[in-house]
Amino acid sequence: MDDDYYSIDAILAENQKIQCTFKKEIPNMGHLTGGNERDIKPTMKAQIPVWLARTLFFSGYADLTMPPAYAERVRHALDAEATSVKLSNLVGQGGLWYGFGRLIMNELDDDSPDTQELSKLLATTFKARLPAVVDQAQHFASINTAGSSGGGADAGIAFREGLDGTERELFNLAQESAKRTKLWYESSDRGRR
């Protein structure tokens, strides 16, 4: 979820389409919106990838609509119980909910209320879900090294499937680290020296 030029995550998040409303007439570009019309008319709506929307937005050709993944309904669901929302399903490919949210946040004005609200939504959601992510990771680290099967953990399945890409990465980090530490605690030096 970084801005690095070479980051695959950043590229994927940029490919995400967002809803834009055109403000000006753009002649001969009608094919971009997928319709049969020759020109793009004002108030016309279209799904545009973020990397293109950025230019349109800054040069005043279009207005940005908040995608449904960050709209009222999802907000309420997250307020109610952050861990029961499947973030991965909200934003198609790769499920980079945070990454996409951050992109939109960067497109918007720094001091607009929308930005503040979105940032708050992303940060509080992240904080609310983080302990659950790490708990699950550590739980899995302990059962995997013990060699038992992952049965009896169905409560967490829905949550794990709904992990956002960033959370997945965190999950892996926490799991690896817990595994390594556990292995060390269980190892013995007697034979080694």
């Binding site: 949210g101 951050r102 503040q116 992240f126 983080l130 302990p131 926490a174 680290s177 530490t181 030096d189």
Partner: protein, 187 residues
């Protein structure tokens, strides 16, 4: 970039163990040895049955060859650990333990369990302490914040265990939180 991902984010527990083994421990040697120079310093002379301070790596080496007894450090006994455990379970903050207690305790209990009076009891106390402290570091995770996190008295092994996901978590949070003035977004 050639390092595997896991080594890029933190060091291995075994590396921490290696570092901890530089610390001195008291031994009762069973063999005599002149003062000997090592890269990390000169140790000895060993004159049984006089006690002598040597690094843990020498102590374990001699111990495995049955050439010394290891004197447990002052904090590695039942009374001390019991006290720490009760503090750990009654107070919300981490109690002060030697910074590398986990590594030292494991190495010593591993090679010299017969030099301890009640090694099994010590082991189970250490395990309880570890679990109590883990619960607290999990608590710290819920308080994670984009600018700082303070968990005093955390030991090196515990820091190493939580480092990857704490660092990554904070890194992500920094990017999600947008407030130029600092921390007024706290809810």
């Amino acid at each position: 970039m050639a390092l595997p991902q896991s080594l890029m984010v933190s060091v291995m527990p075994s590396e921490l163990e290696l570092i901890a083994c530089e610390q001195l421990v008291e031994i009762i040697p069973l063999v005599a040895m002149e003062k000997t120079a090592f890269i990390s310093g000169a140790y000895g002379p060993l004159r049984p049955p006089a006690r002598c301070k040597v690094p843990i790596w020498i102590a374990t080496n001699l111990k495995l060859k049955k050439k010394c007894h290891i004197v447990p450090p002052s904090w590695l006994n039942i009374e001390y650990l019991q006290d720490r455990l009760s503090r750990e379970t009654t107070y919300p903050e981490f109690s002060a333990m030697p910074f590398r207690f986990a590594e030292i305790a494991k190495v010593l209990l591993d090679v010299a369990s017969d030099d301890f009076q009640n090694a099994d009891k010590i082991r189970s106390l250490l395990k309880d302490i570890r679990e109590a402290r883990q619960a607290k570091s999990r608590e710290g995770l819920t308080k994670l914040d984009h600018s700082e996190l303070s968990l005093p008295n955390l030991s090196s092994m515990e820091i190493n265990e939580i480092r990857p996901h704490f660092v990554k978590g904070m890194e992500s949070l920094v990017k999600l939180v947008k407030d130029p003035e600092g921390r007024h977004m706290e809810s």
